[in-house]
């Protein structure tokens, strides 16, 4: 898999490939099983919180090493808060782009930075990575995520899966695989539906068909309201950049640790919108202190369909 010119230079002559002996923050991410691992060490000035030095060690491909090098170059001299605004797209841009199938290397850099920041601040980050079979390599979407979204939103076509998850939205090589996952999920859902007692099914059907969605009584939940406020703030921070690119992003709903957003304008069908979502996901997770997953949904998606469970 070839490298782009600038990432090639960063690979052959990486900057800051070193262990910092006086580091006071460390972010170790990745895994040997995935073939990508990164140890990022930072020397942060305790008074100003300026990152005075950064070093990395990377097990991975050329793009992983180049992304690690780029990350350290970008963040040295920034305050920790400024550095945390860096996105994986910034890393890719610094390298004049990465091939779509290598974007996960830049994501690893961003994850290492967040892990290092958490380490410095004495916080903990939880692993929210999926363990299913990787279906879309461009946007790192696995079969578990696809199944979850299919069930949650009652999807039935490959096109809907692409719209909701961005899987298959770039190189299209995984469309057949998406179809298999979708077929398996639909068969599973059909099995579940037939297993339910008829009475319950009839009741559920009555709820969906007869009661206007607006009339379903909503219990006021102060914690949820607070959560939504924080998420709205994060989205408000991101929106200007998205709008500058001709797109838009809007919060649709929050359920447990799932955030549903609607993307419109230039974001619709854009291959890079998955990265925007990843960025929003990281920011929300950080702001709320626990892992959240952000799903793109169509605004016209019937609300009643979200009554499905997520435990595929």
């Amino acid at each position: 898999m070839g490298l782009f010119r600038k990432s090639e230079a960063a690979f052959f002559n990486p900057k800051n490939a070193k262990l910092l002996s006086d580091a006071n923050a460390r972010g170790d991410v990745g895994s040997i099983s995935c073939g990508d691992a990164l140890s990022l060490s930072l020397k942060i000035n305790p008074d100003s919180e300026v990152i005075e030095d950064a070093g990395f060690q990377t097990f991975g491909c050329g793009s992983a090493i180049a992304s690690s090098s780029a990350l350290t170059e970008i963040i040295i001299g920034k305050t920790l808060n400024e550095a945390l605004q860096v996105t994986n797209q910034d890393i890719a841009d610094y390298l004049d782009g990465l091939p779509p199938e290598k974007m996960h290397c830049s994501v690893m850099g961003m994850e290492a930075l967040h892990a290092a920041a958490a380490n410095y601040r004495g916080e903990s980050l939880e692993d929210d990575h999926e363990e299913g079979e990787l279906i879309c390599k461009c946007f790192a979407v696995d079969d578990l995520m696809i199944k979850r979204v299919v069930k949650a939103n009652g999807l039935s076509t490959v096109a809907e899966v692409i719209n909701y998850t961005k899987a298959g939205g770039a190189c299209t090589a995984c469309h057949e695989k998406i179809e298999w996952v979708l077929d398996a999920c639909l068969a599973e859902m059909a099995g579940e539906a037939s297993a339910k007692p008829l009475q319950v099914a009839a009741q559920a059907s009555a709820v969906v068909q007869d009661i206007p969605v607006e009339d379903i009584p909503m219990e006021f939940d102060a914690a949820l309201a607070e959560k939504i406020t924080v998420i709205e703030q994060v989205i408000a921070e991101v929106r200007p950049a998205v709008q500058a690119d001709g797109g838009d992003i809007r919060l649709v709903d929050v359920e447990d640790n799932l955030v549903f957003v609607s993307m419109s304008g230039a974001c619709t069908g854009c291959g890079l919108s998955g990265l925007t979502l990843a960025n929003v996901e990281v920011k929300i997770s950080k702001a709320l202190g626990e892992p959240y997953t952000v799903f793109p949904v169509q605004e016209t998606a019937p609300v009643a369909k979200k009554e499905a469970t997520y435990d595929c």
């Binding site: 898999m1 490298l3 090639e8 690979f11 052959f12 990486p14 490939a17 972010g27 170790d28 991410v29 990745g30 895994s31 040997i32 099983s33 995935c34 073939g35 990508d36 691992a37 990164l38 140890s39 060690q57 990377t58 097990f59 991975g60 491909c61 050329g62 793009s63 992983a64 090493i65 199938e101 290598k102 996960h104 994850e111 892990a115 980050l125 939880e126 692993d127 990575h129 990787l134 390599k137 298999w180």
Partner: protein, 414 residues
């Protein structure tokens, strides 16, 4: 530009120590010479009655006989030309399941080439029962599991003769004999064997066998299926009467002529090249193991084709290695994930339970009759410093003690 000027322009070739011959091979100059007239002068359709067509038709039959000799087939008509080995393999597998509809099971191995693997997975989704036979840590087939899977429900056994990543050979004659006992058809993917190891289908129980021209110094875009006379068969491509109705479509004449010459040259060179390449490979392998710590050979060193060596270089990743080797003019291959855009090591390395610390850093060197002692010397000089450089970057490597460990780096956030 004249044809001659194009032929005689070797200086346009990229200078490389090319040790990636299991991926593809250099076109033998004699093959290219033989092909040219059939691209330029003899353009007739081999199915035509007129002189121009007949001339081409005769050349096609001559090429068929040369492939027949390479495979040790009894009749030249048992050779069916295809567009590639993937087509030959697809034809064999789909023919068998269609020709024997009462049988709904297939046997194959977990380390097959994607041409077999993906098609069998597809058939599995269509309702066929596929027995996936595993391998041990040296890549040797679990013959007992194979025996247990055989029954009169099995339409087809499709097994590779030599693995493309490790070169490990399976005991094909014995497996074919066992398959015959239950009346199953037996197909062999011999892509990595043709021209590297003796084949004699006539004295075996093999019904079908796939080869690819570009793996033994022929052109790309041409393959062949050996189809034993009398085997129940259903064509993949229907239409014209070409290839006796077994593969419709006008033949890729020039490439078939080229594959014929390549088969002839490979057959002639085989006895001498088998010994020479094995010695060259062993010198490369021993040299690397002696110069670089934490390396080992994957596959079965005792039973493999003579041109292939797959070496695991622990604690670094294969694609990074390939990029650095490429920079110094060495072409090799890797079972590493990133080369394929995937994130997991190759299915062959996983099937052999090669630890992740090594599976991501496998390097495959595959030699050909154009490989030389100088090529080996160059790799032995260039590879050690490259490995050292990458290990310096690896969080799994302890530079002070010159050793590595998976436990050295255990990210809390994985």
């Amino acid at each position: 530009m004249t044809v001659e000027a194009f032929i005689r322009k070797p200086e346009s070739a990229i200078e490389m120590v090319y040790l990636d011959n299991n991926a593809t091979t250099k076109l033998d100059p004699q093959v290219l010479e033989a092909m040219w007239p059939f691209l330029a002068e003899y353009y007739g359709n081999p199915s035509s009655i007129h002189q121009l067509g007949a001339k081409v038709g005769h050349a096609l039959e001559d090429a068929r006989e040369k492939v027949q000799t390479l495979l040790g087939a009894e009749y030249s008509t048992e050779i069916v030309f295809t567009s590639c080995a993937t087509e030959a393999t697809s034809t064999a597998i789909l023919s068998a399941v269609e020709a024997m509809p009462e049988r709904r099971e297939i046997i194959t191995s977990v380390v097959e080439h994607p041409a077999t693997l993906q098609l069998c997975q597809h058939l599995e989704r269509k309702g066929y029962k596929v027995h996936w036979i595993g391998v041990d840590r040296k890549g040797r087939l679990d013959v007992e599991a194979y025996r247990r899977a055989l029954s009169e429900q099995v339409a087809l056994v499709s097994i590779m003769w030599a693995n493309n990543e490790t070169g490990t050979l399976f005991p094909i004659e014995m497996l074919a004999k066992l398959a015959k006992e239950v009346g199953a058809q037996f197909h062999v993917d011999a892509v990595q064997v043709a021209g590297k190891y003796p084949i004699n289908v006539q004295n075996s129980d093999i019904d079908m066998l796939s080869i690819s021209g570009h793996k033994f110094h022929g052109p790309k875009g041409v393959g062949a299926l050996y189809l034993r006379r009398g085997t129940r068969f259903r064509p993949l491509l229907r239409g014209g009467h070409q290839e006796r109705g077994r593969r419709a479509g006008t033949e890729n004449v020039a490439s078939i002529i080229g594959m014929g010459v390549a088969a002839e040259l490979a057959y002639q060179a085989l006895p001498q090249q088998m010994t020479r390449l094995a010695m060259l490979r062993d010198r490369l392998e021993q040299g690397i193991l002696a110069r670089i710590p934490s390396t080992f050979v994957t596959g079965n060193p005792q039973q493999r084709v003579p041109n292939t060596s797959n070496i695991a270089i622990e604690y670094i990743e294969g694609e990074a290695l390939l990029l650095m080797l490429n920079q110094v003019g060495i072409a090799a291959s890797s079972g590493s994930a990133c080369t394929s855009g995937s994130l997991e090591p190759s299915h062959v390395m996983k099937a052999m339970q090669i630890p992740f610390t090594a599976a991501h850093g496998t390097l495959r060197f595959s030699l050909s009759r154009f490989s030389s002692d100088d090529d080996v010397d160059y790799v032995l000089a260039q590879l050690p410093p490259i490995v050292e450089r990458l290990r310096m970057l690896s969080p799994y490597w302890d530079n002070a003690n010159n050793c590595g460990s998976a436990e050295m780096f255990t990210p809390a956030y994985a």
